[in-house]
């Protein structure tokens, strides 16, 4: 993986969770493909100016979730199991939706209103696209 890593950390939250999310996002968006090699602890630590043990912990967590696997003597790789990747996607989507719904509810919208707003937004989006095309 030889791309620029850029990540804005929030020092209020555990750094390893932020890096985990970052890597998951990279996988979902396809920047990291199934079977890709991921950088070593030291490479990533130096690149992000992060404590190496924090990176180590990130990788351990990712391994525990079976998103990353270690091949002896070769390094760490993104899992090739599509189902795993699918489940990250679902998990992250779940988080996003949860967040969204919570926000909307705080604004006072009920389920029906929210659905309407969302489908309206999709309609506007589509017509925008048509106009541009």
């Amino acid at each position: 993986m030889c791309h620029e890593v850029s990540i804005e950390f929030d020092n209020n939250l555990p750094i390893y969770l932020q890096i985990m999310n970052y890597i998951k996002k990279q996988i979902i968006t396809g920047k990291l493909q199934p079977g890709d090699k991921i950088p070593s602890v030291r490479e990533l630590a130096v690149e992000l100016q992060i404590n190496p043990n924090t990176i180590q912990r990130t990788f351990q967590e990712l391994e525990r979730e079976e998103i990353v696997e270690t091949r002896r003597g070769l390094g760490r790789y993104v899992t090739s199991e599509e189902s795993k990747i699918m489940s990250i996607k679902k998990e992250m989507a779940g988080d996003l939706i949860q967040h969204f719904i919570q926000g909307m509810q705080e604004l006072g919208f009920k389920e029906k209103d929210i659905l309407t707003i969302v489908s309206d937004a999709f309609e506007t989006d589509k017509s925008n696209l048509k106009e541009e095309g």
Partner: protein, 232 residues
């Protein structure tokens, strides 16, 4: 976890002024530890005791199970708050000095670090800028394969560019079998390279925990925690 540094009930005072009060702590290997406190809180005193420059009034300090003394000086690499070089020296003399006296000096590592830090062997130390001098001191301290590195305010008083370079070097050149203790009062710039932090206030140890634990438990950055603990 090996006990790299162990302090037990260490007290120290200068004249009537208390510098350290009942400090007990244990540091394992493979860690980068922030020693955080305001000026005059006892950070330097603690480091000097671990380095064997001063003696505790009471209590014990041990490096790898051996009482701090002649023998442990070979195991500890200390970058104090003043230069470890003499004004007549060129960069190469300073390195030669280290090579002459420390058996764990690693010439290859030193060479790589010099390059990384943009320092030249022929540079006269007296003509180096403050930032460059700080880089040199760090190069000297880290070019040994010591068990414990003690860096006293390595990023104090240098510009952000030099600061970044120094943090890079610390992460890049530290090895997993050793530990680094970094004292600083500039927490925000550096907190992400720590495993653990030790808060020290008026010579007393007030907190010693893993940084991720602190973030998890308190939902706070170490910097915010620092400000809270040291609020007047």
């Amino acid at each position: 976890m090996e006990q790299l540094l162990h302090m037990d009930q260490v007290n120290k005072n200068y004249g009537g002024k208390i510098a350290l009060q009942n400090v007990s702590l244990t540091v394992g290997s493979g860690r980068i530890i922030g020693l955080l406190g305001t000026n005059g809180s006892g950070k330097s005193t603690m480091m000097k005791i671990a380095a064997g420059l001063i003696q505790p009034a009471s209590g014990t300090a041990e490096i790898l199970g051996r009482p701090v003394g002649l023998e442990t000086k070979a195991l500890v690499s200390f970058m104090p708050d003043r230069p470890l070089t003499e004004s007549w020296m060129k960069v190469k003399d300073a390195l030669q000095f280290y090579e002459d006296f420390y058996t764990d000096f690693d010439p290859l590592k030193a060479e790589r670090m010099l390059q990384f830090m943009n320092l030249n062997l022929g540079d006269k130390i007296s003509t180096l800028s403050k930032g460059m001098n700080e880089r040199l001191q760090l190069t000297l301290a880290l070019s040994r394969n010591a068990s414990l590195y003690l860096l006293d305010e390595p990023i104090g008083g240098v510009d952000p560019v030099a600061r970044g370079k120094i943090l890079d070097a610390i992460v890049e050149f530290y090895n997993e079998d050793s530990s680094i203790i970094i004292s600083t009062h500039l927490v925000r710039d550096i907190e992400r390279i720590f495993d653990e932090v030790i808060f020290i206030r008026n010579g007393e140890l007030v907190l010693h925990d893993e940084v991720e634990n602190i973030r998890l438990k308190h939902g706070k950055s170490i910097d915010d925690m620092f400000k809270e603990v040291f609020a007047e």
